[in-house]
Amino acid sequence: MTLTQQLAAGPAGAHRPLIISLFAVFVAATLAITVWAGRQTRGAEDFYAGGRRFSGFQNGLAISGDYMSAASFLGIAGAIALFGYDGFLYSIGFLVAWLVALLLVAEPLRNSGRFTMGDVLAYRMRRRPVRTAAGTSTIVVSIFYLLAQMAGAGALVTLLLGITSETGKILVVVLVGIVMILYVTIGGMKGTTWVQMVKAVLLIAGTLLITFLVALKFDFNLSALLGKAAENSGKGAAFLQPGLKYGATATSKIDFISLGLALVLGTAGLPHILIRFYTVPTAKAARKSVNWAIGIIGVFYLMTIALGFGAAALIKPEALTAANKAGNTAAPQLAEVIGGGAGSTGGAVLLAVISAVAFATILAVVAGLTLASSSSFAHDIYVNVLRKGEATEKEEIAAARWATVGIGAVAIVLGVFARGLNVAGLVALAFAVAASANLPTLLYSLFWKRFTTQGALWSIYGGLASSVLLVLFSPVVSGKETSMFPAAGFDVFPLENPGLISIPLGFLLGWLGSLLSKEEPDARKYAELEVRALTGTGAH
């Protein structure tokens, strides 16, 4: 039986025990690492920043493991398999975005902050209001991202394990939530970093193997692969040109520009990525880790060409859409075909390996997201706002652990309700909110001497509110068949991605808020921030 037939036949399949065993091995091994890391976690420095002793290469791997989510692994491969060239457009925005982090954000952040994004945003400002704002936007961005991953986990088991019962899916979401709470509460940043490194190695190894097998099949001839993909897709030359997915109408074209803007400017404002820069000892090591991440992530996205077009060339489009309408199982389906086809041992093993890698991917990403939001809750909101900075290190770590349990519980509950939601919309929303609420304040804080507390607050809350509201009134939430509430019709904003409006608005509000501010910018604090950010003086 092929994967498609199996899925059509419901919960069945010889692959299931193998996939589950491989996945259980991954969970057991990573939990062992977590316990080992937990033994070395004593102070806040360990819990939030992994002791700051990871090397640039290790952190580069962990960043890659944190960044390459199920959306990029399964989603992009599937989008290329179904829409050809347009699927590839996603990966380019995701990669180019790293240059913003490299040139403008990673090093000054490492030099001037301690544990969270809020450390840098609040540095020159009145701390309590800005910390509250930074904590709020960190938690909102991370929860949206988390929601997407949890919803993805539910969808994935249905597709790969044939678990179709609602109870089964709820159980899987709860299980993912519990494992991630264990990773973060026990292992802190050190445990989470190792989990992300292991996952990155597995993901790259699995992708390399399939890419190599696809290349072998086409005698390492890219043109031949593309030609076969175009022919097999039934769409001919159009499959290799932009337009199949985003070129339909004038609105979808503008939507694509909006998405592109959110992707390229979102990465450098994602809190779970930013806190990774604190795990290395120096700004130079932070630079090195971004360089490794660009190399690893770039090679991975290049391989999605082989994955996506390979699936398009070797699997009939009807078989791809029958398994999953969005094509999300293209990569595992390709693994089965390239391993020797349905029923062969090679096919079964390869399918199981790739499916287990996909699960590992989700676990590592949710752990990073949970850590980012619980760190920000404990460090920004609990210690610096509620306790006015008067808490012991022990109390702070205890607060972070409890916050992890709380956020994990929220994620489980939301994940259960979000089972049927549009995953891609949620991830794009997280990027748009990060680019609108976090990036402007981060850049103004570091580089503009006239920036004030009022500017920071207008920018964070304005960017946050406008991006969330625009999505609420977009076709993502209502009015279309694919919406969260297809029956309702309050979709007054035509674009699915708010970035085109909310990102410029976030920048504009930061500028306007500062100009109209009654208080003078704190020149002394700006001098301190600027000198520390560029030289590394007094870095933690």
Binding site: L89, L103, L104, Q241, G243, N291, I294, G295, A527, T537
Partner: protein, 114 residues
């Protein structure tokens, strides 16, 4: 513009950051960072935007065959990867040559005084 103050050893006062900020050494470090990072950022963002706009509105041009089934769209897409790798490498080289020595000199002088 004044030189970087070297505080007496023995005092544990934090450095006067405003004085450092206006020193010639620091001004030069800031210029070396900004004059590289700002124009390059503007450049790659524009180049990415051009690529996105071409993908949306210049389908015919993007479909022009280049080699076998490879068309202009693929060549430009791969070029985005190539420029990203290239800029990352270029910035790191610039930072090692023009930023790190200046930053380290300032840092060790400030921390010796602090």
């Amino acid at each position: 513009m004044s030189a970087v103050p070297t505080t007496d050893t023995g005092t544990h006062e934090p450095p006067d950051y405003r004085q450092v900020q206006s020193s010639a050494e620091f001004t030069e470090l800031r210029r070396a960072h900004r004059s590289f990072a700002f124009p390059i950022t503007l450049g790659f963002l524009l180049w990415y935007l051009v690529y996105v706009l071409l993908s949306s509105y210049a389908g015919g041009f993007m479909a022009t065959p280049v080699l076998g089934h490879l068309n202009v769209a693929f060549v430009l897409g791969i070029a985005q990867f190539a420029t990203t790798f290239l800029i990352a490498w270029w910035y790191s080289r610039h930072a090692a040559a023009a930023l790190d020595p200046k930053a380290e000199a300032l840092k060790s002088r400030l921390e010796a005084g602090a």
